[in-house]
Amino acid sequence: MEVISARNLVKDYNGLRAVNGINFTVQRQECFGILGPNGAGKTSTVRMMFGFSPITSGELKVLGLDVSDHAREIKAQLGVVPQENNLDLDLKVLQNLLVYAGFFNIPERTARERALKLLEFFGLSDKRDAKVDHLSGGMKRRLTIARALINDPDIIILDEPTTGLDPQARHTVWQRLRQLRSRGVTLILTTHYLEEASQLCDRLIIMDHGIILDEGTPEFLVGKHVGSEVLEVGQGAGAGEMLITQFQSQIRGHLVVGDNLVLYPLNGRQLLASLQELPQQFDHYLLRPATLEDVFLKLTGRGLTV
Protein backbone atom coordinates (compact mmCIF):
# COMPACT_ATOMS: atom_id res chain seq x y z
CA MET A 1 0.00 0.00 0.00
CA GLU A 2 1.37 3.40 -0.86
CA VAL A 3 1.56 6.01 1.87
CA ILE A 4 2.97 8.84 -0.20
CA SER A 5 2.54 9.61 -3.86
CA ALA A 6 3.79 12.51 -5.93
CA ARG A 7 2.59 13.28 -9.47
CA ASN A 8 4.36 15.92 -11.54
CA LEU A 9 5.29 17.65 -8.34
CA VAL A 10 6.76 21.13 -8.85
CA LYS A 11 8.20 23.63 -6.37
CA ASP A 12 9.20 27.16 -7.36
CA TYR A 13 10.67 29.84 -5.12
CA ASN A 14 10.20 33.25 -6.74
CA GLY A 15 10.95 31.94 -10.19
CA LEU A 16 13.64 29.46 -9.10
CA ARG A 17 12.52 25.90 -9.85
CA ALA A 18 13.73 23.69 -7.01
CA VAL A 19 11.63 20.62 -7.81
CA ASN A 20 10.82 20.08 -11.45
CA GLY A 21 7.91 17.71 -12.00
CA ILE A 22 8.86 14.58 -10.10
CA ASN A 23 6.88 11.35 -9.68
CA PHE A 24 7.39 8.76 -6.97
CA THR A 25 5.55 6.64 -4.45
CA VAL A 26 6.53 5.42 -1.01
CA GLN A 27 5.21 2.07 0.20
CA ARG A 28 4.14 1.33 3.72
CA GLN A 29 6.91 0.07 5.99
CA GLU A 30 9.76 0.63 3.59
CA CYS A 31 12.75 2.86 4.00
CA PHE A 32 12.67 5.23 1.08
CA GLY A 33 15.75 7.29 0.30
CA ILE A 34 16.09 10.59 -1.52
CA LEU A 35 19.68 10.88 -2.55
CA GLY A 36 21.20 13.93 -4.17
CA PRO A 37 23.94 16.54 -3.98
CA ASN A 38 23.53 19.98 -2.37
CA GLY A 39 20.72 21.95 -3.91
CA ALA A 40 19.17 18.90 -5.60
CA GLY A 41 15.77 19.69 -4.13
CA LYS A 42 15.62 17.04 -1.37
CA THR A 43 14.61 19.38 1.43
CA SER A 44 12.13 21.15 -0.81
CA THR A 45 10.54 17.80 -1.62
CA VAL A 46 10.14 16.61 1.96
CA ARG A 47 9.01 20.00 3.26
CA MET A 48 6.03 19.84 0.95
CA MET A 49 5.04 16.54 2.58
CA PHE A 50 4.41 18.20 5.90
CA GLY A 51 2.92 21.37 4.54
CA PHE A 52 5.81 23.63 5.48
CA SER A 53 6.10 24.62 1.88
CA PRO A 54 3.04 24.89 -0.38
CA ILE A 55 3.29 22.93 -3.62
CA THR A 56 3.52 25.00 -6.79
CA SER A 57 1.81 22.48 -9.05
CA GLY A 58 1.18 18.80 -9.47
CA GLU A 59 -0.16 16.54 -6.78
CA LEU A 60 1.20 15.25 -3.50
CA LYS A 61 -0.71 12.85 -1.29
CA VAL A 62 0.29 11.60 2.11
CA LEU A 63 -1.76 8.74 3.58
CA GLY A 64 -4.19 9.28 0.76
CA LEU A 65 -4.79 12.91 1.72
CA ASP A 66 -3.93 15.91 -0.41
CA VAL A 67 -1.24 17.99 1.35
CA SER A 68 -2.75 21.24 0.16
CA ASP A 69 -5.91 20.94 2.20
CA HIS A 70 -5.27 18.33 4.90
CA ALA A 71 -2.06 19.62 6.43
CA ARG A 72 -3.27 19.22 9.98
CA GLU A 73 -4.48 15.61 9.68
CA ILE A 74 -1.31 14.67 7.85
CA LYS A 75 1.00 16.33 10.34
CA ALA A 76 -0.75 14.58 13.22
CA GLN A 77 0.47 11.27 11.80
CA LEU A 78 3.98 12.23 10.75
CA GLY A 79 7.25 12.52 12.59
CA VAL A 80 9.61 15.12 11.19
CA VAL A 81 13.36 15.42 11.68
CA PRO A 82 14.36 18.63 9.91
CA GLN A 83 17.73 19.23 8.32
CA GLU A 84 18.56 22.01 10.77
CA ASN A 85 18.17 21.12 14.42
CA ASN A 86 15.35 23.15 15.87
CA LEU A 87 15.16 21.82 19.38
CA ASP A 88 13.85 24.32 21.86
CA LEU A 89 17.03 25.78 23.33
CA ASP A 90 15.03 27.50 26.04
CA LEU A 91 13.82 24.17 27.42
CA LYS A 92 15.53 21.19 28.99
CA VAL A 93 15.74 17.78 27.33
CA LEU A 94 12.65 16.15 28.78
CA GLN A 95 10.69 19.40 28.60
CA ASN A 96 11.45 19.55 24.90
CA LEU A 97 9.59 16.30 24.39
CA LEU A 98 6.72 17.22 26.71
CA VAL A 99 6.07 20.62 25.17
CA TYR A 100 6.25 19.12 21.70
CA ALA A 101 3.77 16.44 22.74
CA GLY A 102 1.44 19.27 23.74
CA PHE A 103 1.30 20.43 20.13
CA PHE A 104 -0.21 17.04 19.27
CA ASN A 105 -2.75 17.30 22.09
CA ILE A 106 -1.25 14.21 23.71
CA PRO A 107 -2.44 13.93 27.32
CA GLU A 108 0.29 14.82 29.79
CA ARG A 109 0.54 11.42 31.43
CA THR A 110 0.88 9.56 28.11
CA ALA A 111 3.35 12.16 26.93
CA ARG A 112 5.55 11.68 29.96
CA GLU A 113 5.51 7.89 29.66
CA ARG A 114 6.40 8.04 25.99
CA ALA A 115 9.03 10.69 26.51
CA LEU A 116 10.84 8.67 29.17
CA LYS A 117 10.76 5.56 26.97
CA LEU A 118 12.10 7.48 24.01
CA LEU A 119 14.91 9.00 26.04
CA GLU A 120 15.86 5.54 27.10
CA PHE A 121 15.67 4.13 23.58
CA PHE A 122 18.00 6.89 22.39
CA GLY A 123 20.37 6.60 25.32
CA LEU A 124 19.52 10.02 26.73
CA SER A 125 17.94 9.05 30.05
CA ASP A 126 20.69 10.57 32.15
CA LYS A 127 20.40 13.83 30.21
CA ARG A 128 16.71 14.40 30.84
CA ASP A 129 17.31 17.52 32.92
CA ALA A 130 20.25 18.82 30.90
CA LYS A 131 20.13 21.98 28.86
CA VAL A 132 19.79 21.23 25.18
CA ASP A 133 22.68 23.56 24.47
CA HIS A 134 24.98 21.34 26.52
CA LEU A 135 24.32 18.21 24.44
CA SER A 136 26.80 17.03 21.85
CA GLY A 137 25.87 17.16 18.17
CA GLY A 138 25.05 13.45 18.13
CA MET A 139 22.86 13.71 21.23
CA LYS A 140 20.98 16.66 19.76
CA ARG A 141 20.30 14.67 16.65
CA ARG A 142 19.09 11.70 18.67
CA LEU A 143 16.86 13.96 20.71
CA THR A 144 15.43 15.44 17.53
CA ILE A 145 14.61 11.94 16.29
CA ALA A 146 13.11 11.04 19.68
CA ARG A 147 10.96 14.16 19.45
CA ALA A 148 9.74 13.13 16.01
CA LEU A 149 8.48 9.87 17.55
CA ILE A 150 6.49 11.43 20.39
CA ASN A 151 3.19 11.13 18.52
CA ASP A 152 3.90 7.48 17.69
CA PRO A 153 3.86 8.18 13.94
CA ASP A 154 3.58 5.57 11.21
CA ILE A 155 5.80 7.62 8.94
CA ILE A 156 8.89 9.52 9.82
CA ILE A 157 10.64 11.96 7.55
CA LEU A 158 14.33 12.45 8.19
CA ASP A 159 16.14 15.23 6.36
CA GLU A 160 19.83 14.35 6.50
CA PRO A 161 19.66 12.68 9.89
CA THR A 162 23.40 12.17 10.29
CA THR A 163 25.03 15.07 8.49
CA GLY A 164 27.78 16.52 10.65
CA LEU A 165 28.03 13.54 13.01
CA ASP A 166 31.19 11.56 13.64
CA PRO A 167 31.22 7.94 12.38
CA GLN A 168 30.36 6.46 15.74
CA ALA A 169 27.43 8.77 16.35
CA ARG A 170 26.27 8.09 12.82
CA HIS A 171 26.30 4.33 13.40
CA THR A 172 24.30 4.76 16.59
CA VAL A 173 21.64 6.68 14.69
CA TRP A 174 21.57 4.09 11.90
CA GLN A 175 21.11 1.32 14.38
CA ARG A 176 18.12 3.07 15.93
CA LEU A 177 16.63 3.75 12.52
CA ARG A 178 16.95 0.09 11.57
CA GLN A 179 15.17 -0.85 14.76
CA LEU A 180 12.36 1.55 13.92
CA ARG A 181 12.04 0.10 10.48
CA SER A 182 11.82 -3.41 11.85
CA ARG A 183 8.96 -2.21 14.04
CA GLY A 184 7.12 -1.27 10.89
CA VAL A 185 7.69 2.48 10.78
CA THR A 186 7.89 3.88 7.26
CA LEU A 187 11.08 5.92 6.88
CA ILE A 188 11.69 8.65 4.34
CA LEU A 189 15.24 9.73 4.42
CA THR A 190 17.22 12.31 2.48
CA THR A 191 20.96 12.04 2.45
CA HIS A 192 24.09 12.60 0.48
CA TYR A 193 25.92 9.83 2.28
CA LEU A 194 26.01 6.93 -0.09
CA GLU A 195 26.82 4.55 2.68
CA GLU A 196 23.78 5.70 4.63
CA ALA A 197 21.56 5.14 1.63
CA SER A 198 22.93 1.67 0.94
CA GLN A 199 22.85 0.65 4.60
CA LEU A 200 19.31 1.77 5.28
CA CYS A 201 17.23 2.21 2.18
CA ASP A 202 15.09 -0.44 0.57
CA ARG A 203 14.48 1.78 -2.39
CA LEU A 204 15.69 5.18 -3.41
CA ILE A 205 15.51 7.95 -5.92
CA ILE A 206 18.55 9.88 -7.05
CA MET A 207 17.78 13.56 -7.56
CA ASP A 208 19.70 16.41 -9.06
CA HIS A 209 18.60 19.86 -10.19
CA GLY A 210 15.04 19.14 -9.16
CA ILE A 211 14.55 16.01 -11.26
CA ILE A 212 14.77 12.29 -10.56
CA LEU A 213 17.69 10.74 -12.40
CA ASP A 214 16.76 7.17 -11.56
CA GLU A 215 15.10 5.03 -8.95
CA GLY A 216 15.23 1.50 -7.63
CA THR A 217 16.86 -0.65 -4.97
CA PRO A 218 20.54 0.09 -4.28
CA GLU A 219 21.57 -3.22 -5.88
CA PHE A 220 19.45 -2.62 -8.94
CA LEU A 221 20.93 0.84 -9.46
CA VAL A 222 24.49 -0.35 -9.04
CA GLY A 223 23.95 -3.25 -11.42
CA LYS A 224 22.21 -1.10 -13.99
CA HIS A 225 24.63 1.79 -14.17
CA VAL A 226 27.99 0.38 -13.21
CA GLY A 227 28.02 -3.39 -12.98
CA SER A 228 29.42 -5.46 -10.18
CA GLU A 229 32.98 -4.12 -10.07
CA VAL A 230 34.98 -1.02 -10.85
CA LEU A 231 38.63 -0.67 -11.60
CA GLU A 232 40.29 2.52 -10.43
CA VAL A 233 43.45 3.55 -12.17
CA GLY A 234 45.71 6.29 -10.88
CA GLN A 235 46.47 7.46 -14.40
CA GLY A 236 48.93 10.29 -13.87
CA ALA A 237 49.31 12.78 -16.70
CA GLY A 238 46.43 12.28 -19.07
CA ALA A 239 46.86 8.63 -20.02
CA GLY A 240 43.13 8.21 -19.55
CA GLU A 241 42.04 8.96 -23.09
CA MET A 242 44.41 6.39 -24.46
CA LEU A 243 43.29 3.70 -22.03
CA ILE A 244 39.65 4.27 -22.77
CA THR A 245 40.16 3.96 -26.51
CA GLN A 246 42.37 0.95 -26.17
CA PHE A 247 40.06 -0.99 -23.87
CA GLN A 248 36.72 0.19 -25.24
CA SER A 249 35.59 -3.36 -25.91
CA GLN A 250 36.31 -4.51 -22.35
CA ILE A 251 34.45 -1.78 -20.47
CA ARG A 252 30.83 -0.69 -20.29
CA GLY A 253 31.64 2.82 -19.16
CA HIS A 254 34.03 5.07 -17.32
CA LEU A 255 34.35 8.21 -15.29
CA VAL A 256 37.21 10.55 -14.51
CA VAL A 257 37.34 11.77 -10.94
CA GLY A 258 40.29 14.06 -10.39
CA ASP A 259 43.45 12.07 -11.15
CA ASN A 260 41.56 8.82 -10.99
CA LEU A 261 40.15 7.01 -13.94
CA VAL A 262 37.27 4.76 -12.93
CA LEU A 263 36.52 1.99 -15.40
CA TYR A 264 33.40 -0.19 -15.34
CA PRO A 265 34.84 -3.46 -16.62
CA LEU A 266 32.89 -6.31 -18.18
CA ASN A 267 35.33 -8.62 -16.48
CA GLY A 268 37.43 -7.02 -13.75
CA ARG A 269 40.23 -9.54 -13.45
CA GLN A 270 40.75 -9.77 -17.16
CA LEU A 271 40.93 -5.99 -17.53
CA LEU A 272 43.31 -5.69 -14.63
CA ALA A 273 45.56 -8.33 -16.19
CA SER A 274 45.53 -6.51 -19.55
CA LEU A 275 46.38 -3.22 -17.88
CA GLN A 276 49.28 -4.73 -16.03
CA GLU A 277 50.72 -6.01 -19.29
CA LEU A 278 50.97 -2.48 -20.65
CA PRO A 279 54.40 -0.90 -20.84
CA GLN A 280 53.33 2.22 -18.88
CA GLN A 281 53.37 2.33 -15.13
CA PHE A 282 50.35 3.72 -13.29
CA ASP A 283 50.29 5.16 -9.80
CA HIS A 284 47.96 2.45 -8.59
CA TYR A 285 45.26 -0.02 -9.57
CA LEU A 286 42.31 -0.92 -7.45
CA LEU A 287 39.72 -3.49 -8.36
CA ARG A 288 36.78 -3.23 -5.99
CA PRO A 289 33.04 -3.95 -5.80
CA ALA A 290 30.89 -1.21 -7.31
CA THR A 291 28.91 0.92 -4.86
CA LEU A 292 26.11 3.41 -4.90
CA GLU A 293 28.77 6.08 -4.84
CA ASP A 294 29.86 5.08 -8.33
CA VAL A 295 26.26 5.31 -9.50
CA PHE A 296 25.85 8.68 -7.86
CA LEU A 297 29.04 10.06 -9.40
CA LYS A 298 28.06 8.76 -12.77
CA LEU A 299 24.49 10.03 -12.73
CA THR A 300 25.12 13.44 -11.23
CA GLY A 301 28.24 13.98 -13.33
CA ARG A 302 30.14 15.14 -10.27
CA GLY A 303 33.45 14.22 -11.72
CA LEU A 304 34.60 15.22 -15.19
CA THR A 305 34.17 12.90 -18.11
CA VAL A 306 37.19 12.82 -20.43
Binding site: F52, D88, D90
Partner: protein, 259 residues
Protein backbone atom coordinates in the same frame (compact mmCIF):
# COMPACT_ATOMS: atom_id res chain seq x y z
CA UNK B 1 -7.03 39.63 -0.77
CA UNK B 2 -9.95 38.37 1.26
CA UNK B 3 -8.77 34.78 0.96
CA UNK B 4 -5.27 35.85 1.99
CA UNK B 5 -6.68 37.12 5.24
CA UNK B 6 -8.54 33.90 5.97
CA UNK B 7 -6.98 32.35 9.03
CA UNK B 8 -6.38 28.81 10.13
CA UNK B 9 -6.83 29.07 13.89
CA UNK B 10 -7.92 26.51 16.47
CA UNK B 11 -7.59 26.06 20.21
CA UNK B 12 -4.05 24.81 19.57
CA UNK B 13 -2.98 28.44 19.70
CA UNK B 14 -3.02 28.05 23.48
CA UNK B 15 -0.40 25.30 23.20
CA UNK B 16 1.85 27.83 21.58
CA UNK B 17 1.09 30.28 24.35
CA UNK B 18 1.82 27.59 26.90
CA UNK B 19 5.17 26.88 25.36
CA UNK B 20 6.12 30.53 25.88
CA UNK B 21 4.80 30.41 29.41
CA UNK B 22 6.82 27.25 30.19
CA UNK B 23 9.98 28.94 28.94
CA UNK B 24 9.19 32.14 30.82
CA UNK B 25 8.66 30.34 34.11
CA UNK B 26 12.35 29.59 34.09
CA UNK B 27 13.45 33.20 33.89
CA UNK B 28 10.61 35.36 35.08
CA UNK B 29 12.31 36.68 38.19
CA UNK B 30 15.19 38.23 36.32
CA UNK B 31 13.16 39.52 33.45
CA UNK B 32 10.41 40.94 35.61
CA UNK B 33 12.79 42.84 37.84
CA UNK B 34 14.62 44.30 34.86
CA UNK B 35 11.43 45.33 33.19
CA UNK B 36 9.96 47.29 35.99
CA UNK B 37 13.27 48.85 36.89
CA UNK B 38 13.15 51.21 33.94
CA UNK B 39 9.71 52.72 34.57
CA UNK B 40 10.74 53.12 38.19
CA UNK B 41 13.74 55.14 37.06
CA UNK B 42 11.43 57.42 35.09
CA UNK B 43 9.18 57.72 38.05
CA UNK B 44 12.05 58.64 40.36
CA UNK B 45 13.88 60.97 37.98
CA UNK B 46 10.87 62.73 36.48
CA UNK B 47 8.29 62.38 39.19
CA UNK B 48 10.39 63.11 42.21
CA UNK B 49 13.30 64.90 40.52
CA UNK B 50 11.95 67.02 37.71
CA UNK B 51 8.52 67.16 39.35
CA UNK B 52 9.77 69.59 41.96
CA UNK B 53 10.23 72.24 39.26
CA UNK B 54 7.00 71.54 37.39
CA UNK B 55 3.84 73.38 38.32
CA UNK B 56 0.63 71.44 38.91
CA UNK B 57 -0.85 69.98 35.70
CA UNK B 58 -4.66 69.92 35.61
CA UNK B 59 -4.57 70.11 39.39
CA UNK B 60 -2.14 67.17 39.76
CA UNK B 61 1.42 66.99 41.00
CA UNK B 62 3.82 65.89 38.30
CA UNK B 63 4.28 62.43 39.75
CA UNK B 64 0.53 61.95 39.97
CA UNK B 65 0.37 62.98 36.34
CA UNK B 66 3.02 60.69 34.89
CA UNK B 67 2.71 57.62 37.13
CA UNK B 68 -0.46 56.18 35.50
CA UNK B 69 0.92 56.95 32.03
CA UNK B 70 4.03 54.91 32.75
CA UNK B 71 1.76 51.88 33.13
CA UNK B 72 0.68 52.46 29.56
CA UNK B 73 4.16 53.03 28.17
CA UNK B 74 5.64 49.99 29.89
CA UNK B 75 2.84 47.91 28.37
CA UNK B 76 3.79 49.25 24.97
CA UNK B 77 7.50 48.62 25.40
CA UNK B 78 7.14 45.11 26.75
CA UNK B 79 5.04 43.78 23.89
CA UNK B 80 7.02 45.75 21.33
CA UNK B 81 10.27 44.15 22.55
CA UNK B 82 8.71 40.71 22.79
CA UNK B 83 7.20 40.80 19.32
CA UNK B 84 10.24 42.20 17.56
CA UNK B 85 13.42 40.82 19.11
CA UNK B 86 11.77 37.91 20.91
CA UNK B 87 9.72 36.77 17.94
CA UNK B 88 12.56 37.27 15.50
CA UNK B 89 15.02 35.26 17.58
CA UNK B 90 12.56 32.39 17.86
CA UNK B 91 11.81 32.51 14.16
CA UNK B 92 15.24 33.10 12.67
CA UNK B 93 17.84 31.79 15.11
CA UNK B 94 16.12 29.13 17.16
CA UNK B 95 13.83 27.93 14.36
CA UNK B 96 11.13 27.38 16.95
CA UNK B 97 8.41 28.22 14.45
CA UNK B 98 9.69 25.64 12.02
CA UNK B 99 9.54 23.02 14.76
CA UNK B 100 5.99 23.93 15.76
CA UNK B 101 4.73 24.06 12.21
CA UNK B 102 5.83 20.45 11.63
CA UNK B 103 3.22 19.40 14.22
CA UNK B 104 -0.55 19.86 13.82
CA UNK B 105 -0.03 23.50 14.85
CA UNK B 106 -0.57 25.91 11.93
CA UNK B 107 1.61 28.91 11.18
CA UNK B 108 -1.36 31.17 11.89
CA UNK B 109 -1.59 29.68 15.37
CA UNK B 110 2.12 30.25 15.89
CA UNK B 111 1.70 33.93 14.97
CA UNK B 112 -1.41 34.43 17.04
CA UNK B 113 0.36 32.66 19.91
CA UNK B 114 3.15 35.23 19.65
CA UNK B 115 0.61 38.05 19.73
CA UNK B 116 -1.15 36.58 22.76
CA UNK B 117 2.21 36.21 24.42
CA UNK B 118 3.10 39.85 23.71
CA UNK B 119 -0.24 40.85 25.14
CA UNK B 120 0.40 38.80 28.25
CA UNK B 121 3.73 40.54 28.74
CA UNK B 122 2.03 43.94 28.52
CA UNK B 123 -0.50 42.79 31.04
CA UNK B 124 2.19 41.47 33.36
CA UNK B 125 4.59 44.42 33.27
CA UNK B 126 1.86 47.03 33.24
CA UNK B 127 0.26 45.38 36.26
CA UNK B 128 3.57 45.38 38.12
CA UNK B 129 3.87 49.13 37.61
CA UNK B 130 0.27 49.56 38.68
CA UNK B 131 1.08 47.68 41.85
CA UNK B 132 4.15 49.81 42.52
CA UNK B 133 2.29 53.08 42.16
CA UNK B 134 -0.46 51.67 44.33
CA UNK B 135 2.12 51.06 47.04
CA UNK B 136 3.43 54.60 46.53
CA UNK B 137 -0.09 55.86 47.21
CA UNK B 138 -0.58 57.19 43.70
CA UNK B 139 -3.76 55.26 42.86
CA UNK B 140 -6.81 57.36 43.60
CA UNK B 141 -9.71 55.20 42.48
CA UNK B 142 -10.96 51.58 42.43
CA UNK B 143 -11.58 52.06 38.72
CA UNK B 144 -7.89 51.15 38.50
CA UNK B 145 -9.02 47.52 38.74
CA UNK B 146 -9.94 47.78 35.06
CA UNK B 147 -6.40 48.72 34.04
CA UNK B 148 -5.33 45.09 33.40
CA UNK B 149 -8.10 44.73 30.81
CA UNK B 150 -6.78 47.79 29.04
CA UNK B 151 -3.29 46.31 29.20
CA UNK B 152 -4.38 43.08 27.52
CA UNK B 153 -6.06 44.88 24.64
CA UNK B 154 -3.24 47.36 24.15
CA UNK B 155 -0.79 44.47 24.33
CA UNK B 156 -2.58 42.76 21.44
CA UNK B 157 -2.38 45.95 19.45
CA UNK B 158 1.31 46.68 20.03
CA UNK B 159 2.23 43.01 19.52
CA UNK B 160 0.44 42.91 16.17
CA UNK B 161 1.94 46.25 15.16
CA UNK B 162 5.44 44.96 15.96
CA UNK B 163 4.93 41.74 14.06
CA UNK B 164 3.73 43.71 11.05
CA UNK B 165 7.09 45.46 11.14
CA UNK B 166 8.87 42.07 11.12
CA UNK B 167 6.66 40.92 8.26
CA UNK B 168 7.60 44.00 6.22
CA UNK B 169 11.29 44.32 7.20
CA UNK B 170 12.46 40.94 8.47
CA UNK B 171 15.87 42.01 9.66
CA UNK B 172 17.07 42.30 13.22
CA UNK B 173 18.93 45.56 12.55
CA UNK B 174 15.72 47.20 11.42
CA UNK B 175 14.28 46.96 14.93
CA UNK B 176 16.48 49.91 15.95
CA UNK B 177 14.54 51.97 13.44
CA UNK B 178 11.26 50.62 14.68
CA UNK B 179 12.06 51.79 18.16
CA UNK B 180 13.54 55.15 17.18
CA UNK B 181 11.04 55.99 14.44
CA UNK B 182 7.84 54.49 15.83
CA UNK B 183 7.95 53.52 19.48
CA UNK B 184 9.95 56.45 20.90
CA UNK B 185 7.91 59.15 19.13
CA UNK B 186 4.77 57.46 20.44
CA UNK B 187 6.30 57.45 23.90
CA UNK B 188 7.14 61.16 23.71
CA UNK B 189 4.02 62.56 22.04
CA UNK B 190 1.14 60.58 23.47
CA UNK B 191 0.58 62.60 26.59
CA UNK B 192 2.79 60.56 28.90
CA UNK B 193 5.01 63.45 30.00
CA UNK B 194 2.84 66.50 29.28
CA UNK B 195 -0.77 67.14 28.34
CA UNK B 196 -1.30 67.61 24.63
CA UNK B 197 -3.84 70.36 25.15
CA UNK B 198 -1.07 72.98 25.00
CA UNK B 199 0.10 71.83 21.57
CA UNK B 200 -1.13 73.07 18.16
CA UNK B 201 -4.37 71.51 16.94
CA UNK B 202 -2.58 69.61 14.19
CA UNK B 203 -0.38 67.80 16.73
CA UNK B 204 -3.42 67.01 18.82
CA UNK B 205 -5.17 65.37 15.92
CA UNK B 206 -2.00 63.46 15.10
CA UNK B 207 -1.97 62.20 18.65
CA UNK B 208 -5.43 60.79 18.10
CA UNK B 209 -3.82 58.38 15.65
CA UNK B 210 -1.37 57.20 18.31
CA UNK B 211 -2.46 54.02 20.05
CA UNK B 212 -0.47 54.96 23.12
CA UNK B 213 -2.44 58.20 23.43
CA UNK B 214 -5.64 56.20 23.96
CA UNK B 215 -3.96 53.79 26.35
CA UNK B 216 -2.62 56.72 28.39
CA UNK B 217 -6.08 58.31 28.49
CA UNK B 218 -7.46 55.07 29.83
CA UNK B 219 -4.83 54.26 32.44
CA UNK B 220 -4.76 57.86 33.67
CA UNK B 221 -8.51 58.14 33.75
CA UNK B 222 -8.96 54.85 35.58
CA UNK B 223 -6.14 55.36 38.09
CA UNK B 224 -7.27 58.89 38.92
CA UNK B 225 -10.96 58.04 38.89
CA UNK B 226 -11.63 60.57 36.16
CA UNK B 227 -13.97 58.33 34.18
CA UNK B 228 -16.55 59.12 31.54
CA UNK B 229 -17.86 58.17 28.13
CA UNK B 230 -14.69 59.46 26.49
CA UNK B 231 -12.88 56.44 27.95
CA UNK B 232 -15.30 54.09 26.23
CA UNK B 233 -14.33 55.68 22.92
CA UNK B 234 -10.64 55.29 23.70
CA UNK B 235 -11.20 51.64 24.52
CA UNK B 236 -13.22 51.01 21.38
CA UNK B 237 -10.50 52.69 19.34
CA UNK B 238 -7.98 50.19 20.72
CA UNK B 239 -10.26 47.19 20.17
CA UNK B 240 -11.01 48.12 16.57
CA UNK B 241 -7.41 48.86 15.65
CA UNK B 242 -6.17 45.66 17.32
CA UNK B 243 -8.83 43.68 15.44
CA UNK B 244 -7.64 45.16 12.16
CA UNK B 245 -3.91 44.74 12.81
CA UNK B 246 -3.96 41.14 14.07
CA UNK B 247 -5.06 39.49 10.80
CA UNK B 248 -2.60 41.63 8.86
CA UNK B 249 0.24 40.54 11.15
CA UNK B 250 -0.77 36.90 10.83
CA UNK B 251 -0.94 37.16 7.07
CA UNK B 252 2.48 38.80 6.79
CA UNK B 253 4.09 36.23 9.07
CA UNK B 254 2.62 33.38 7.07
CA UNK B 255 3.96 34.94 3.89
CA UNK B 256 7.37 35.28 5.50
CA UNK B 257 7.78 31.81 6.99
CA UNK B 258 5.82 29.47 4.72
CA UNK B 259 7.52 29.53 1.34
Amino acid sequence: MISALRMDISARVFKVFRRHLTVYRRSWKVSLSFNFFEPLLYLAALGYGLGVYVQAIEGLTYIQFIAPALIASSAMFSSAYECTYGTYIRMEFQKTFQAMVATPVSMDEVSLGEILWGSYKSFLYGSVILFVILVLGLVASPWALLVPVVLLVSGLLFAAMSMIWIGLIPNIDSFNYYFSLVITPLFLFSGVFFPLSGLPAIVQSLAWASPLFHVVNLTRGLVLGDVGVHLVWDFLWLVVVAAVLIPIAIHLMRRLVIR
